[in-house]
C-alpha cells in the first residue's frame, strides 16, 4: 500500500540544535549573530517549505530485489543482517520541496553566504526530520510500539550503494510527489531523503560500525541512532 503524507512547515521545522550541529556549532556555542541568522533561516523555512512524502510497505522478498539494485553494494552490509529479522519494511521518499533550494541559491547569488549556508543546514535538518517523522508515524501504528524501533536506512550509506536509488525509485515511484532522480542517482529537489523504514526490535538494529566502508564515514551517525530511544 502506498500512501502520501504531508506536513505543515512548522511540523517539519528542525530543532535549533540540529541545525547548529550541521553548522559545526556545539551546544551553547552560537554567537548572537549566528542565532540571529538561524532565526531568519527558520522564518524562511516556515514561509517556503513544502514538506511531503510517499511511503509504501514492502515484503522482505520484494525488498531483497530493491536492495540488490545494480549489484554495487558492499560485500557485507548491516542491512543484510537486519532485514531478515525485521517485523516490517516500508520504502519512503520525502522532500522539503524545491523553493527552499532555490532560495538558498538566490542567497548565495545575493552575497548573503552566511544566511544561505544557515538555510542550507535548516533544509538538510528538515529533510532528516521528515524521515524521523515517518519513522515515528510507523511506530505509532504498531500495536507493539513499545517493543520495537523504526529506523530509516538510505542508499549511499552503510554499504548500500547510492545506485540503489534506481531500484528504490522504480518500486516506490516518488515522482508522484515531485521527487526525481538524475543519472548520478541524485534526488531533486536536493533536500530530499529516501530509503527503507525498518521496524524491528531495538537489538536487531544494533551492529558494530567496523565494516570496511565505515572507515570512510566521518561522523558515524549510526552510533547515535542505535543508542537513541526515539523512534
Amino acid at each position: 500500500m502506498r500512501e502520501r503524507v504531508t506536513w505543515t512547515p512548522a511540523e517539519a521545522a528542525p530543532s535549533r540544535e540540529a541545525v547548529l550541529a550541521l553548522q559545526g556549532i556545539p551546544p551553547r556555542g552560537a554567537s548572537p549573530r549566528a542565532e540571529g541568522l538561524l532565526d531568519r533561516a527558520l522564518a524562511i523555512h516556515l514561509e517556503l517549505a513544502e514538506p511531503r512524502a510517499i511511503v509504501g510497505a514492502i515484503t522482505r522478498g520484494e525488498f531483497a530485489e530493491v536492495y540488490r539494485g545494480a549489484g554495487r553494494n558492499a560485500p557485507e552490509t548491516p542491512l543484510e543482517c537486519i532485514v531478515p529479522r525485521a517485523d516490517g519494511l516500508a520504502l519512503f521518499a520525502a522532500t522539503v520541496g524545491a523553493p527552499l533550494t532555490s532560495r538558498i541559491r538566490a542567497l548565495f547569488a545575493e552575497n548573503e553566504p552566511a544566511l544561505a549556508a544557515m538555510l542550507d543546514s535548516v533544509a538538510s535538518a528538515a529533510a532528516d526530520r521528515l524521515a524521523d517523522l515517518l519513522a515515528a508515524r510507523a511506530l505509532a501504528e504498531m500495536a507493539s510500539g513499545d517493543r520495537v524501533r523504526v529506523l530509516a536506512y538510505s542508499p549511499g550509506y552503510c554499504g548500500w550503494h547510492v545506485s540503489g536509488q534506481g531500484a528504490l525509485f522504480a518500486a516506490l515511484r516518488p515522482e508522484e510527489i515531485g521527487v526525481t532522480l538524475n543519472a548520478s542517482f541524485l534526488m531533486e529537489p536536493l533536500k530530499s531523503v529516501s530509503g527503507v523504514l525498518v521496524t524491528a526490535a531495538p537489538e536487531v538494529h544494533r551492529f558494530a560500525p567496523a565494516f570496511p566502508f565505515c572507515a570512510d564515514c566521518r561522523d558515524k551517525p549510526c552510533r547515535a541512532r542505535m543508542a537513541s530511544r526515539a523512534a
Partner: protein, 213 residues
C-alpha cells in the same frame, strides 16, 4: 588604535559596511592599497582563520567576516590592479558533472576569495573538459573539484587525466573535496591535494601555489 587595526577588528566582527567605510577612510588618509589589504583585511581574516581553527568561532561568523572582506576588496582591487599587484592566484572551481550539490563548493569559493584568490566559479554539473578549458583560457593555476556523490567522484579522475594529457601537470594543480572524498582518493586519482573542509581547502591551495602573502 590605527585605522588598519580598526579595519582588521571590524572585519573580525563581520561588519561589512563598516569595513567598506574604513577602507575608504584609510585610502583617503593616503595609506597604500597593498598596506590596507595586508595590514587591515588580510590581518583581520588571519585572526578569523585562527579563531575558527581553535573552535572559538564557527562557520556563520567566518562567512560574515568573508563578506566584510569582499566589501573592502571590492574597493581595493581596481587600485591594486592599477599598481600591478597580482592577486594570490586564480582558481577554477566547480561541482563535477552529475553533481548538483553546491553548498560546499560555494563555501570554498567564499573562503578562497576572502583569502585574496581570484575565483572563477563554474557552478555545478560541470563536465571535466570545461574545467581544463577554462583553466587554460583564464590562466588559472588551480582547479578545485567538488563532489558529494560516490557516483560522480570518477569525474575528478577524468579532470586529473585531462590535465596530464594536455601537458599541464605541475602548472595547473588539482584539489578535490566533498563529503565522500578522502585523502586516499586524492592520492589514488593523482590529484595534488585534498581539502577536508573549506578552511582546510584554502590552506591547501595556498600551499599548492605558495601564495601566502
Amino acid at each position: 588604535m590605527g585605522i588598519l587595526d580598526e579595519i582588521a577588528e571590524s572585519l573580525e566582527r563581520g561588519e561589512d559596511q563598516e569595513v567598506g567605510a574604513l577602507v575608504r577612510r584609510a585610502l583617503d588618509e593616503r595609506h597604500a592599497p597593498l598596506e590596507v589589504l595586508n595590514q587591515g583585511l588580510v590581518a583581520g581574516m588571519d585572526v578569523v582563520g585562527e579563531r575558527f581553527r581553535a573552535r572559538e568561532i564557527f562557520l556563520p561568523d567566518v562567512l560574515m567576516a568573508a563578506r566584510a572582506m569582499y566589501a573592502g576588496l571590492d574597493l581595493l582591487k581596481p587600485l591594486l590592479a592599477r599598481e600591478g599587484v597580482p592577486s594570490a592566484a586564480r582558481v577554477v572551481l566547480g561541482s563535477v558533472h552529475g553533481d548538483l550539490h553546491d553548498i560546499g563548493k560555494n563555501l570554498v569559493g567564499i573562503m578562497l576569495r576572502g583569502a585574496g584568490f581570484d575565483v572563477i566559479d563554474l557552478g555545478n554539473d560541470v563536465p571535466a573538459a570545461r574545467f581544463v578549458d577554462i583553466a587554460v583560457e583564464r590562466g588559472a593555476s588551480v582547479i578545485g573539484l567538488s563532489a558529494l556523490l560516490t557516483t560522480t567522484m570518477p569525474v575528478m579522475k577524468d579532470v586529473v587525466e585531462l590535465v596530464r594529457a594536455r601537458g599541464l601537470a605541475g602548472r595547473v594543480r588539482v584539489i578535490v573535496g566533498g563529503a565522500p572524498v578522502s585523502e586516499a582518493w586524492a592520492r589514488e586519482i593523482g590529484a595534488d591535494a585534498h581539502g577536508y573542509d573549506a578552511a582546510n581547502a584554502v590552506e591547501r591551495v595556498r600551499a599548492l601555489v605558495g601564495a601566502r602573502r
